[in-house]
């Protein structure tokens, strides 16, 4: 059914830490690797070695530059580069589900995962139009809609060692920037992390109520801080020989006078 469940027993989802993400794209590759070999149609690449390569990905990492507004403390704050992984947010009020004419898209009552039943998908693309996050991509070869499954074939998979029973992107992240858990449980790792660090929703004005939360990055660079040393070694690193001697010294003074 393409109507949304009123309530889901669990709210499985991810916390993505924008403070920690280093933009290595390992999650992108492990996601594509796992999901092209397991549940559902493979994630195709077209013209992979040609002039115009393109492919289906369920997770993509963007990079954004943020230029903080100057303040009296920080008259010329450094711009910050923020890597930004983006996949399905498994919204509570998922617009992609209700627009589906065939019932192929659905949100699971037991855990809140938004899935596509590929054998029912007619490939009309309307769900991708309805998603503000670009989380759904029509596969160019299979002609069905592909999206993040929260690795539904890993998290409940008793053939895998317990440590591997989390989404491939979370399992692989070398920086520990991705966390998986149940948001319906206020004591879960993800609920606590999100509460502690001010987890935020993307595009809250779209009214989708995303389950996945993003942790805002902390300010990092303090190069332009006016007071204090930037390093305890700084006094020892005072530049020496500021005044040129000999011919260069004469040239410097002469040019000054002109």
């Amino acid at each position: 059914m393409t109507t949304l469940p009123e309530k889901t027993q669990k709210k499985l989802g991810l916390v993505i830490d924008l403070d920690t993400c280093v933009g290595c794209h390992a999650c992108v590759i492990s996601c594509k690797g796992w999901n092209t070999e397991n549940y559902g149609a493979a994630l195709s690449d077209t013209d992979a070695y040609g002039a115009n390569p393109s492919g289906t990905f369920l997770n993509r990492v963007h990079s954004y530059e943020v230029q903080p507004t100057p303040t009296s403390d920080q008259p010329a704050p450094e711009a910050q580069l923020i890597h930004f992984p983006k996949s399905c947010l498994h919204c509570e009020d998922a617009p992609c589900v209700t627009v589906c004419p065939t019932g192929a898209s659905y949100k699971r009552v037991e855990d809140g995962i938004v899935l596509v039943n590929e054998s029912d998908c007619i490939g009309c693309g309307l769900c991708a139009w309805a998603c503000p996050y670009g989380a759904r991509e029509m596969d160019a070869v299979e002609k069905v809609m592909k999206k993040c499954t929260l690795c539904v074939d890993r998290i409940y998979n008793e053939n895998l060692p317990e440590i591997d029973r989390e989404p491939a992107c979370v399992r692989t992240c070398p920086a520990g920037a991705r966390h998986f858990g149940d948001f319906a449980d206020p004591e879960s790792n993800v609920s606590k992390l999100s509460a502690e660090r001010g987890g935020m929703n993307l595009m809250p004005e779209q009214g989708t109520k995303p389950v996945n939360k993003y942790l805002p990055p902390r300010p990092k660079d303090t190069l332009s801080a006016p007071a204090g040393d930037i390093d305890i070694l700084a006094p020892y690193l005072e530049p020496v020989g500021q005044d040129a001697k000999g011919f260069l010294g004469w040239l410097d003074k002469t040019l000054e006078k002109l």
Binding site: T3, C121, G134, M138, M203, Q206
Partner: protein
């Protein structure tokens, strides 16, 4: 949005076809026999041709029947139902007129209502999308309906109605363009809200996820032709309403009527191309595009 020819063709011709069916169902013009056959043939050709064309953009058209299952929640599914009901009732109504010289008034009335509902449900597929602020407006269904009825009046030869409805369609079109131009900015969705980084400062897309293109960019970040949108708007509205109105005001001739129809169809095609090409999907913001 990528202006897919199959979808433009579908919305334009099914709009005109169901518009004509609406008038035929109400008994305008009150034709029977061979003349009725000609009118119904044109209407069915446009409506069914448009619907068939819409299946060309499906990845798996062989599963299209499944689209009838979700009418409780999906406008696309409701559109399928309305179209089938309208075509069946109008088919029977037409049968009576063409072969039995009978006007089954109630059947025609039901057919007309469902023809209008088909166009309305089509428009709601676009109107419901909050992700495309330009379409997410009550004016979108008004535009689809006024275009469909104006085309129907023109094709059914109802000159007075055509003059009135073409003028209304032109006004609605101008209002929709004017409102649409500020829709993305007015929606409150920006790169700042999309990334949640707004409170930290001004956000700029630094590097896209891939060096190549992808489905999202092909489907949603279509910017070609926006440069000429103002000129195209003038051409579109001139052909859609301006020229047909002038031709209708001239003394009646079949050549003028045919020209008016051809001009109207060309204008609606241009307008529908712009409807898609000018629509900005919010996902483009993630790529620093609109």
């Amino acid at each position: 949005m990528h202006p897919a020819p199959s979808v433009i063709f579908f919305t334009v011709f099914s709009g005109i076809g169901f518009g004509l069916l609406t008038f035929l169902g109400l008994g305008f013009p009150a034709v029977t026999g061979f003349t009725a056959f000609a009118f119904f043939a044109i209407a069915f050709l446009a409506a069914v041709g448009g619907l068939i064309s819409s299946t060309f953009h499906l990845g798996h058209p062989e599963r299209a029947l499944k689209a009838f299952t979700q009418w409780r929640s999906s406008w696309l599914s409701r559109e399928g139902w309305c179209a089938v009901i309208a075509l069946i009732t109008m088919g029977l109504y037409g049968l009576g007129l063409v072969f039995f010289d009978q006007r089954w008034t109630l059947l025609g009335l039901v057919g007309s209502v469902f023809s209008v509902l088909t166009v309305f449900t089509t428009s709601m597929i676009y109107t419901q999308l909050k992700t495309i602020p330009r379409w997410n407006s009550p004016l979108t269904p008004v535009m689809f309906l006024s275009f469909s009825l104006a085309g129907g009046a023109l094709l059914s030869g109802q000159v007075t109605w055509a003059l009135l409805l073409l003028s209304i369609a032109a006004v609605v079109q101008v209002l929709l363009w004017a409102q649409g131009d500020g829709a993305l900015a007015g929606s409150g969705t920006t790169l700042a809200t999309a990334t949640g980084l707004g409170p930290r400062g001004s956000v700029k897309a630094f590097e896209p996820p891939h060096t190549g293109t992808n489905y999202l960019l092909r489907e949603f970040a279509f910017t070609v032709g926006r440069k000429h949108s103002q000129k195209l708007r003038l051409i579109s509205i001139g052909l859609m309403a301006g020229l047909p109105i002038v031709l209708l005001l001239l003394p009646f001739s079949h050549i003028f009527a045919a020209l008016a129809v051809a001009s109207h169809v060309a204008g609606v095609l241009a307008s529908r191309w712009l409807f898609f090409a000018e629509a900005e999907h919010v996902v483009g913001l993630y790529y620093g595009k609109r």
